[in-house]
Symmetry: C2
Subunit: 342 residues, 2 copies
C-alpha cells in the first residue's frame, strides 16, 4: 500500500482542478483515471458554451495542472474498491494499485445516455441519426457530413433524449443540453452557412448567464429555427434522408420534416464508477448520483469523515459550475487535513 | 487605516461562507455589511428550494460562522470607495472605516427588480399585486392574506417579471424564479389547502437537481396549475379582486382570470454596490454584473491581482451555487496570500 494525503478519483475537469489546488496547498495527491487519457468528457469537446472558448485551451490548462510536483497521475487505473480502514481510506484499482489516505475525493463524473434505448429515434439503425457527442467530433475535425460523405442540407437537433423522460426512467433535466444545442447549431452554421438548422425542444432552458442572449443570437444572426415539440418517430426516405415526425405543441399541429442529420442531445447520467463507488461507500442518492450531506451548507462533504465529492458525480453541472465545485472541495479537504494534524 | 489580510465586501451567504473559510485558514478577515443585519436576501427567505430546508437553519449556520475569532464583522458599513494603493487594496466605508489589505473579495450580491417599472402589472397601484419577496414574508409569518385581511381563494404567480424582457432592458433569465414559483405555490397550498394556485410561465426552467420532480409533485400532489403565457394586463374588479389577462400560448387562446393575489416573481439584477464598486475597480461586465477573468478556468479572479469575486455579484445563482463559489473564492484567496508571503 502506498500512502498519500488525498486520493482523487477521476481525471476530468473536477478531479484535476481539485487535485491541482490541493497540490498547491502542499498536499501529496494521487490522481487516478480509469481511461488511457485524462479530461473525461472534455476530451471530445470542440468549443464551450456560452463563450465559444476553444476546448483545447481548457485541455491544455488542465494538462498543465496535472504536472504539479505534488500530483502523481495514474492512467488506465479504474478504481475497483474503496473501503474504510481504521482512520484511513483505502483505494484499490483494476491494475493493482493500492493506496491509503486520510481523504478521498470522488470526482468520477457522468456518462451520457445510451440513445439506443430510444428505439423510435433510430440511433444505431439509421446512419443519419447521431449523438451530440458525435456531432461535436465532426465539428472538431471540420467535417459535418452524412454517412455518404455529403454535405447535409438540413440538420435537426433534438433535445431531451434520455432526459425528462418517464419511459427511460429519467425524470430529471440534464441542464446542459438546451444551451449545448444552441451552441452546436451556431457552430454548424459557421462551418456550413447554407445548412438549415432546426432545434426541437420541450422548454427552452436558457437559465445561465448569456444563454438567453445566445439563443436570440442563434435566431437573429444564424437563422436557427426552434420548434417546441418532441420527435416521436424517425424513418428513412427513398433518397437516403430521414423523415422525422413530431407535434408542434405551440400550433398544436402535427409536423413532418425531412433532414439529413438528426443530432440527439443525449442526457447526463451517473457514470458507472460513480454508481459503483457510491454504492460501496454508501453515498448513493437518486439516480445513482452521489449525495452530499447538505446541499445548502456542506455540498462537498458526505456522511463519512474524509470522503468528499466534487462535480458531476453529484448531478448534471456545467463546466464553470464543476470547476468552482472542485475548488470548493479542495478547500474542504485542505481544512480537513489540517484539522487532523492539529 | 486598519490592516487585514482580506476585506470581504458583503455579509450575505457568499461573503460569510468565504470569510469563514478564510478565517479557518488563519487569515484575518474584515467582513463589511452595508445593512444593519447580515444575511443579504437570505434574511427574507422562508424555505429553500428544492428541499424545503428552513431558511432559519441557514441563517443560524451563517451567523455562527461570522463568530469565528479571525473575523471582524462591521454592520451598517456600506463601502464607498475601493482603490489600489501600491500593492494593497484600500476599502473605505460610509461610516468612516478605512482598511488596507492585500486581498479584497467582492460578494456584494444582487438586488431584486423593481416591479413598478412594469406598470401594466399594477404593482404599487393595486394592493393585491405583491412581489415574491413579500409573499415569502407572508409565508414566514403564516399569514397569506389579501389587503383586506381575507383568505385568498385564488393566487397567480407570474414568472419573468423583469427578466427576459426587452422593454425593461433585461434580456437575461434570472435562473431562480421558475423553481421558486414552484416552491411558493407548494408552500401556499400547504398553508391554505383550499386555495387555487396558478403559475404563469414562458418556459418552465427546471434545470436543477430535483426541480423537475418538484414541478411534477406540485401538479400531482398539490394541484398547482401551470399556464404558458405572460400576463399583459391587470385590472381591479368590482368586488376587490383582480382580473388578469394573458394569452395561453399553448392553446393560443386569450384568457381572463380573476384572482385575489398576484405574486410577481421579480428577477435578479446587480446590486447598487456591485455596480458601483465594479465601476470603481473596473470589473463591470454586462448588466453591471462583475466580470471574472475566465468563466471556465478562473471564475473567482479578476484582471486585478488580489481582487476576487464570489456569488451573485457575477450573475444570478442559487444558494448552493453561491456557497460553492464562495468556498472556491476562499481557496483562491488563501493561495494568493500564501504566494505573497513566499
Amino acid at each position: 500500500m502506498n500512502k498519500a494525503d488525498v486520493v482523487v478519483i477521476g481525471g476530468g475537469p473536477a478531479g484535476i482542478e481539485a487535485a491541482y489546488n490541493l497540490a498547491r496547498d502542499n498536499h501529496k495527491v494521487v490522481l487516478v483515471e480509469k481511461e488511457k487519457e485524462i479530461f473525461g468528457h472534455m476530451q471530445t469537446a470542440y468549443t464551450l458554451f456560452p463563450n465559444f472558448q476553444d476546448a483545447s485551451e481548457i485541455r491544455s490548462s488542465l494538462l498543465q495542472k496535472t504536472k504539479h510536483g505534488n500530483i502523481t497521475l495514474y492512467n488506465n487505473s479504474e478504481v475497483t474498491q474503496v473501503s474504510r480502514e481504521n482512520d484511513f481510506w483505502r483505494v484499490q484499482t483494476i491494475n493493482g494499485l493500492d493506496f491509503i489516505a486520510p481523504a478521498v475525493l470522488l470526482a468520477s463524473g457522468f456518462k451520457t445516455f445510451d440513445a439506443r434505448y430510444k428505439e423510435e429515434l433510430g440511433y444505431g439503425i439509421y446512419k443519419g441519426v447521431i449523438t451530440s457527442v458525435e456531432f461535436e467530433e465532426m465539428l472538431k475535425v471540420g467535417k459535418i457530413q452524412t454517412a455518404n460523405g455529403e454535405k447535409p442540407r438540413r440538420i435537426a437537433f433534438l433535445n431531451c433524449v434520455g432526459s425528462r423522460d418517464e419511459k427511460v426512467g429519467n425524470h430529471y433535466c440534464s441542464r446542459v443540453c438546451c444551451i449545448n444545442a444552441v451552441k452546436l447549431s451556431i457552430e454548424a452554421k459557421k462551418q456550413l452557412p447554407e445548412v438549415e438548422a432546426y432545434c426541437f425542444y420541450m422548454d427552452i432552458r436558457m437559465s445561465g448567464q448569456f444563454y438567453e442572449e445566445l439563443y436570440r443570437k442563434s435566431q437573429e444572426d444564424f437563422d436557427v429555427n426552434y420548434i417546441r415539440g418532441r420527435i416521436s418517430e424517425v424513418a428513412p426516405t427513398i433518397d437516403n434522408r430521414l423523415q422525422v415526425k413530431c407535434e408542434d405543441t405551440l400550433s398544436q399541429t402535427p409536423l413532418k420534416m425531412t433532414v439529413d442529420l438528426l443530432v440527439l442531445m443525449i442526457g447526463i447520467e451517473a457514470s458507472e464508477g460513480t454508481a459503483r463507488i457510491g454504492e460501496q461507500v454508501g453515498v448513493n442518492g437518486e439516480y445513482n448520483f452521489s449525495k452530499s450531506i447538505s446541499l445548502h451548507t456542506a455540498d462537498n462533504k458526505t456522511k463519512h469523515q474524509g470522503f468528499f465529492l466534487a462535480g458531476t458525480c453529484k448531478r448534471p453541472l456545467t463546466v464553470p459550475e464543476t470547476m468552482a465545485d472542485a475548488r470548493a472541495a479542495a478547500l474542504e479537504i485542505d481544512l480537513y487535513l489540517k484539522s487532523l494534524s492539529q
